[in-house]
């Protein structure tokens, strides 16, 4: 397990812990599942609402948590304006 810093920059009323632990090798899907469960939102809705950056790189299919991973930033998807 490694501990990842979570930074949520969204306008949804979701509250995340500042740090969360995941097994090394977790896939993007594994992480999204845990995050969606943490805030109690449907997985697809949660994914649609956000963009995820793991250490500045987009977290998506094919990206896995490595021992050196440090920070996950979660951004709200724009609704225009």
């Amino acid at each position: 397990m490694i501990s990842i810093r979570i930074r949520y920059i969204g306008f949804h009323p979701y509250v995340f812990p500042e740090e969360m632990s995941f097994p090394v090798g977790s896939s993007a899907g594994d992480i999204f599942t845990v995050l969606a469960e943490t805030v109690g939102v449907d997985y697809d809705v949660f994914l649609y609402e956000h963009v995820f950056l793991l250490d500045g790189v987009r977290l998506e299919e094919g990206v896995f948590l490595r021992p050196e991973s440090r920070e996950l930033m979660i951004f709200t998807m724009s609704m225009g304006g």
Binding site: F11, H12, P13, Y48, L53, F75, S78
Partner: protein
């Protein structure tokens, strides 16, 4: 008649004459209002190939059924004309109070033709119409014109006007009403300036009948309770908008890949960085806040008045820059000086410059300068380095004054590149117009790329485009058409797109039906939205703007892809998205020409069939 006065005013500025024409319920139900009315009228009455800045060019100010009839968020009117930027159809809507006031003054729309010999303004008071000399207003900025006319005419007068940019026929010019609300895109200020029409002043006390007040009230009640206590997951978005308007998003968007960065060539998280982006956290601007404001009929009141007494540019009373302005003049220029953004906002509002175009021009100049394509000498001594706040303000001042390089760059990126004969590789335009500040390369929002390239008003983020259905899904084309048709109805009805999140399902259709007095079902709404889109599209086809002539700068679609950050490696497929959309619309995939039977099925498009020779 329900929902409208049933009257349009036609003004011939060459002869100084006015004429009132009437329309009936059927016309309103067929074309809704706004640019639905506008496209129907211009397609019929404006000659094909007319010079947008010439006497045959028509300029319309059109209200919608929700204006002055009670629906919450229903305060927006639309300016329509042929764009001197794209050479095709243009519509631009604006909030404030001008639209509802025009309707209360007795007219649902005004269409201008001709060119006045000297500057004039139109004064409408409760059905009385007068063209007046505007020599004393010519040269005044948009805020000054409103103040002058308030003193001269009526303290409650509402005014739509051009500033120096429109007077000087700059293609970045817009029309400003209520001092700072903008009908922004497509060069409408230049069209108004070419007619020597400085302003329209309206004052009205009339009432508009509606068919079904109870339905309007009940939908309003749902909206009010949603806004009072927004349910998750809308709470953050709506509360953010109530408190900070569109700027609630600016910081988030600068880093998430939503805002374009470095003239659409960079990545916020890498090239701009969190520290610099932090200047756009919404609470940063609160130190300047004096009050909140909203448009007519708006319960959200997303705007704010600021007062800036200190710093490099003590502006006094000003307005909070909207998201689009802050992104265009902020991260897209790598500018982290919020005071400079406020200053540019004020310059643009006074001079009547579209801030999306203004900021995008500066970003293009900076990239050209950075690559040695434009020199300090060509820029009147301005050192246009990325993020140089003084240079950003100086370039914007040059445009506002139409002076030196401002006369050139003030016509937009493409016009300037053609004038200089260089810099085309750094253009970030679609069919010649700069783009709204939402990057279609952002993960999950590929829907913007299709309207950016292929809407009859290219470069807009407010014209539909489906984000939820993958391109590989056979239903994508239909989903895009449905979303676009829905947006056509929302826009033409006079509703505000920003309020959309607070609306219960089917609210706009229910409002339109209740105001006009007919059963505006979702099916009928879809047909009507498609009809209105077809009218705008037909206007372009008649001008020779076939689908294959509508282009977009390659980098906007990820050619080449961004190297870092959230949008890294993403390549969009505008051609494929366009194919699916045009197919679902019933148009030829190469030219975009609709099939005659499709137009016949949609109905109300006899004028398009005739004008396109189908």
């Amino acid at each position: 008649m329900n929902g409208f006065n049933g009257k349009m005013l036609f003004v011939d500025l060459t002869n100084g004459t006015t004429q009132v024409e009437t329309f009936d319920e059927k016309f309103a139900q067929t074309y809704v209002g706004g640019y639905g009315f506008g496209a129907r009228i211009l397609l019929e009455r404006m000659p094909a190939g007319a010079d947008p800045l010439g006497p045959d060019s028509m300029l319309g100010f059109v209200t919608g059924p929700t204006n002055a009839t009670g629906p919450l968020f229903g305060g927006r009117y639309t300016v329509v004309h042929k764009s001197p930027v794209t050479g095709g159809w243009n519509d631009a809507n604006s909030g404030g109070f001008f639209g509802p006031e025009l309707k209360r003054a007795g007219f649902d729309a005004i269409f201008f033709t001709g060119i006045s010999e000297k500057p004039v303004y139109l004064w409408i008071k409760d059905g009385e119409v007068e063209l007046r000399d505007a020599s004393h207003l010519w040269g005044q900025d948009c805020k000054e014109v409103w103040e002058t006319l308030k003193q001269e005419l009526d303290p409650r007068v509402r005014v739509a006007t051009i500033g120096s940019a429109g007077e000087n026929l700059l293609l970045s010019s817009n029309i400003i009403n209520d001092g700072h609300r903008a009908a922004g895109r497509g060069g409408c200020g230049a069209v108004m300036g070419s007619k020597k029409l400085k302003a329209i002043a309206v004052r009205g006390t009339g009432a508009i009948e509606v068919a079904d007040k109870d339905t309007i009230l009940s939908v309003n009640q749902v909206i009010s309770s949603t806004l009072a206590d927004p349910p998750a997951p809308l709470a953050g978005y709506l509360n953010g908008n109530k408190k900070w308007g569109t700027t609630s998003l600016t910081y988030n968007s600068a880093l998430s890949g939503d805002s374009p960065v470095k003239n659409w060539g960079g990545s916020g998280i890498v090239d701009f960085g969190e520290q610099r982006a932090a200047i756009f956290k919404p609470e940063v601007g609160d130190q300047y806040l004096t009050s909140h404001y909203g448009c007519a009929q708006c319960p959200m009141r997303c705007g704010a008045e600021y007062r800036v007494d200190t710093g490099k540019w003590p502006l006094g009373d000003t307005e909070r820059p909207e998201y689009e302005t802050a992104a265009a003049y902020g991260c897209n220029c790598l500018n982290d000086d919020f005071e400079a953004v406020m200053k540019c906002n004020e310059i643009c509002n006074r001079a009547g410059i579209d801030t999306i175009t203004g900021g995008s021009i500066v970003a293009w100049v900076m990239e050209c300068y950075d690559n040695g394509v434009l020199t300090k000498e060509e820029l009147d001594g301005i050192e246009a380095n990325w993020g140089n706040a003084e240079a950003i303000v100086a370039l914007t001042e040059k445009i506002a004054a139409a002076e030196g390089c401002g006369k050139i760059i003030g016509n937009g990126q493409l016009w300037a590149a053609n004038y200089y004969g260089k810099g085309h590789e750094y253009l970030t335009t679609a069919s010649g117009i700069e783009l709204g500040m939402h990057d279609p390369r952002m993960p999950g929002v590929d829907g913007y790329i299709r309207p950016f390239q292929y809407d009859p008003t290219p470069g807009r983020h407010v014209k539909g485009g489906d984000n939820r259905t993958p391109l590989s899904d056979p239903n994508r084309g239909n989903a895009d058409v449905a979303k676009t048709a829905g947006t056509e109805i929302l826009n033409t009805s006079g509703m505000c797109l920003l309020g959309g999140a607070a609306l219960p399902p089917n609210a706009t259709n229910n409002f339109v039906g209740a105001v006009l007095g007919f059963d505006f079902t979702p099916e009928l709404s879809l047909t009507t939205g498609r009809r209105i889109w077809m009218l705008r599209h037909a206007f372009n086809l008649r001008e020779g703007i076939t689908r294959d002539k509508m282009d977009i700068a390659p980098r906007i679609a990820g050619n080449p892809p961004i190297a870092t950050g959230p949008n890294a490696g993403i390549v969009r497929e505008p051609e494929k998205a366009g194919d699916l959309f045009f197919e679902a619309m019933g148009c030829d995939l190469k030219t975009g020409m609709p099939k005659r039977e499709v137009l016949e099925q949609l109905g109300g498009l006899e004028i398009a069939i005739e004008q396109l020779g189908l």
